[in-house]
C-alpha cells in the first residue's frame, strides 16, 4: 500500500533498530505530499512524513513521525518516535520518544517515555500501564545529560535558613 520513493531520505532517518529482531522488518513510508484522512492499520513499520487525520494502529510495529509529519490522530504502536507534530494521544507498547524537533499535544501512555531536550509536549504522561507493576523508567536522552552535568552530584547551596509554618 505504501510506496517508498527514491527521493526520500535514507533509512538512517528511520527509528533506531534497537528493539528489532535480528531480521529487519519492512519499513513503509508516507511521503511529505501525502494526506490521509481516515484510519491507518498494518503490520509493518511506518514512517510518516506527510499528514494524517484519523487513527494510526500499528500496535506490533514501530511508528515514526518524521520532521515534516503532521498528525491529528491517536497513534498506537510498539515504539513511537515523534520528530514532527502530533495532536492526539500516543500509546506505545514499548516506548514513546519525542525527539528534539517533536511537538506533541495529547497524552502519552507507555512504560517508557523519553522527552529529548528541546521537544515540546503538553498533556499527561502515564508510564504505568494497567496490569503492569512499577514503571520502567527511561532516563532522559543523551541530550539531557542529567547525571553528566558537572557538580550535579555535589552538595548544592546550603540552606541559609529553613522554616516551617505553622
Amino acid at each position: 500500500m505504501w510506496k517508498k520513493t527514491d527521493d526520500e531520505p535514507t533509512i538512517s532517518a528511520a527509528p533506531r533498530p534497537q528493539s528489532r529482531a535480528a531480521q529487519p522488518a519492512a519499513v513503509a513510508s508516507l511521503g511529505p505530499s501525502i494526506f490521509i484522512k481516515g484510519d491507518l492499520t498494518g503490520e509493518e513499520d511506518l514512517i510518516i512524513r506527510g499528514r494524517v487525520e484519523g487513527e494510526v494502529r500499528l500496535k506490533d510495529n514501530n511508528v515514526t513521525v518524521g520532521e515534516s509529519g503532521k498528525i491529528k490522530a491517536d497513534i498506537y504502536g510498539k515504539s513511537i518516535r515523534v520528530e514532527g507534530q502530533v495532536k492526539g494521544n500516543l500509546y506505545g507498547g514499548q516506548e514513546v520518544v519525542i525527539r528534539a524537533s517533536g511537538r506533541v499535544q495529547g497524552n502519552i501512555v507507555s512504560p517508557r517515555v523519553t522527552l529529548e531536550n528541546g521537544s515540546k509536549f503538553k498533556g499527561a504522561i502515564d508510564m504505568e500501564p494497567a496490569g503492569e507493576g512499577k514503571s520502567s523508567i527511561t532516563k532522559p536522552s543523551p541530550q539531557i545529560p542529567v547525571a553528566a552535568k558537572p557538580g550535579a552530584a555535589a552538595a548544592g547551596s546550603k540552606p541559609a535558613s529553613a522554616s516551617s509554618t505553622p
Binding site: 517515555v113 522527552l115 503538553k122 504505568e128 514503571s135 557538580g151 555535589a154 548544592g156 546550603k158 522554616s163
Partner: protein
C-alpha cells in the same frame, strides 16, 4: 551546557543547581507508593517526568512557560486577557491533582495575575493539594523563567535560558498568601542562592 556551580541562577550562568529542601519534603510525602497526579506548569523535561513516574505519579504538563514567554516573542505576556486565553487553552480539564509544580513562574507575574492563576488552580485542587513555588529573593533574575530539572530527591538543576536580567519582584509571604487565596503556606525554605522555596497546601477555603 556551560559551567556549573552551586550559585545563583540570576548570575547569568547557564547551568546551576541547588539543594531543594522542599523537594525533599515532597519526596518523603510521595514515597508511600500511592498513585498520585502531578500538574506541572513548567515545560516538559524528561528527567522530571521520569522522577515523578518513579514515585508512581502521573504527570500532566501544561507548559505555561512556553505560552507566556514564547521564544522570540514579548518577554512577558502578562495582560489579563492573554493570560486567561492561555489558561483556557493550556490547562487540562478539571480534575484534582495532589501536587502542582509552579517552579519560578510567579516571579514573572504581577500579583493580580498570580491570583488569576490561583483561581484557576482551585479547579485542580482538593484539600491538601501541595503547590510548589520558587520565589527569587534577589534584586534581579533572568528575564525568562528557568528550566528546573530534578536531579535527585534533594537537588534541582536549573538551566538559565537567557543571559538578560530583569528586576525581581521579591514577593514576600504575605503578598503570595494574598494572591494565592485558598492556598496556605505549609513550609518555606530560604536558601542562600537567592531562592525561597514555598510549599503551599490547598485548604479548600
Amino acid at each position: 551546557m556551560g559551567p556549573s556551580s552551586p550559585s545563583s541562577p540570576a548570575t547569568g550562568e547557564e547551568t546551576s543547581h541547588h539543594q531543594s529542601l522542599a523537594l525533599g519534603l515532597l519526596v518523603r510525602r510521595l514515597s508511600d507508593g500511592r498513585r498520585r497526579r502531578v500538574l506541572d506548569l513548567g515545560p516538559a523535561i524528561g528527567a522530571n517526568v521520569a522522577f515523578f513516574a518513579s514515585l508512581s505519579c502521573r504527570v500532566h504538563i501544561a507548559d505555561l512557560h512556553q505560552s507566556l514567554f514564547p521564544p522570540g516573542g514579548p518577554r512577558v505576556r502578562s495582560e489579563a486577557r492573554a493570560l486567561e486565553d492561555i489558561l483556557d487553552r493550556d490547562l487540562p480539564p478539571a480534575e484534582p491533582f495532589e501536587l502542582i509544580l509552579t517552579w519560578d513562574l510567579f516571579n514573572y507575574l504581577e500579583p493580580k495575575n498570580i491570583a488569576a492563576v490561583a483561581q484557576r488552580l482551585k479547579a485542580f485542587s482538593q484539600v491538601g493539594t501541595s503547590l510548589l513555588a520558587l520565589i527569587s529573593t534577589r534584586k534581579e533574575l533572568p528575564d525568562r523563567p528557568t528550566r528546573f530539572e530534578v536531579h535527585d530527591s534533594q537537588h534541582l538543576i536549573y538551566d538559565v535560558e537567557s543571559p538578560l536580567l530583569r528586576p525581581a519582584p521579591r514577593y514576600k509571604e504575605p503578598e503570595l498568601s494574598r494572591a494565592l487565596a485558598g492556598f496556605e503556606v505549609e513550609s518555606s525554605f530560604l536558601l542562600r542562592n537567592g531562592i525561597q522555596e514555598y510549599l503551599f497546601s490547598y485548604s479548600g477555603c
